[in-house]
Amino acid sequence: MPVFDKDGAQVWRLRTPREKLIRLGGWLIGLVIFAICWQRISEATTWFFVWDAPRIANDIWTRATPPRWEYITQLGRPIWDTLNIATLGTIIALFLAVPVAFLAARNTTPSKLFIRPIALLIIVSTRSINSLIWALLLIAIIGPGVFAGVVAIAIRSIGFCAKLLYEAIEEIDHAQVEAITATGASRWQVMAYGIVPQIMPAFAGVAVFRWDINIRESTVLGLVGAGGIGLQLSASLNVLAWPQVSLILLVILAAVVISEWVSAKVRGAII
């Protein structure tokens, strides 16, 4: 914060001239890097296809509209499968996530040194792999179908749910736990009375939030053969049946909008 004495008045500037110069240099370097990157990308792009894009998009749009409405009779079953994959997967994930969360939370873990790192590893490893990749792996192991989808969604969701839950457990009011402990309650009773009521809103919020995400994730699982509406989508794409594709996209959109509405309602009611 430099202050100059100029004609007897105290003049204040935010930065010294030297600092100004350094900043200007920084901006220049940034600009150069951007230009170089742009050039690299440009070299690796077949510009003919990009210039062609609006025409192709327009072509697909005219082929895809209007959607083939009568195809909807064949979509009831797959969208029902998709909903089931999401719902069952979420329920299984919650059952598995609760114990993991208790083992991972600093204030409830039996051992900070040994068990907590294992719980954290479970959380990180299940979270970091996309459900599509889990589905690919599981299809190889248990064969294609809805069940592989359910398991993929469940595994993918454990880490997410457990992480949010253990953060909720770590943030509980310790005084309530202390009060229950002081009555002579056992370890399990302290958990049921001192901790569980405090994390119930978080639990409900996580459950519907994850269910909402899972509906979106399970729509694509069919692309790799794990059941649901994605199966229809990939079949239609393969035969270039664009009117069917557009109808499927509409159905997915409707399902997602409805699930979002339900989860917003449920969360609003609980919290």
Partner: protein
Amino acid sequence: MLRLEKLTKTYKTGDKALQDIDLEVPSGQVLALIGPSGAGKSTLIRCINRLVEPTGGAVMLDGEDLTRLGSGALRRARREMGMIFQEYALVERLTVMENVLSGRLGYVGFWRSFLRRYPQKDVDEAFRLLDRVGLLHMADKRADELSGGQRQRVGICRALIQDPKLLLVDEPTASLDPKTSRQIMRLITELCRERGLAAIINIHDVLLAQMFVPRIVGLRFGEIVFDGPPEGLTPDKLTEIYGEEDWEATIEKVEDEEDIEAAE
């Protein structure tokens, strides 16, 4: 009934919260523990029921050393000691009735408590206690719907339903307005008299302590520096406990306020 022998607590940071505390509380005696913040009042009562583990000395309750108990025996011993907290420490999302009944957790099994199938006599006692503190109509309300004074009454019921011999009371009035504070102190001392309970009440409000409690113990830097009746709290003694300050006003006010109380 309760005897502390050279009770010591040194925190991992090296802070000596309690230094060789010797204190005897006979059956049915109500005692106020005063002292500045950080004097070790909370640590002292938490060392008695081992919410904080003491590092040395003994806590003798009816001839049994609580510091040597295993976890099962400690839980049985905790049933004998009801605790009341500064910020009430009710389970906010449970109903008043569930909060009161949670005082029986040490007596009922896990599944009974989990399914809220408490023995009928516990439920009867819960209703009796709620009626006694004037909250019978609130039994079905959630704890977070209650006002501060009402919550503290629920906290008192939860402690009493344990059927304890001793109450450990940690700053019961610190979050309450002056009028409610007095009502709560009066309620606690009355209930102790009715049931012949001993109590250790942590309180930073010297006036309240003098008004309601026959024996006052002053704590400073983890050591007892005063033990006697309220009349014995002279300005010199208060200076010893809290440090230099003009105490005349505090002591005079006690008499004034008692007049006001009488006039009411």
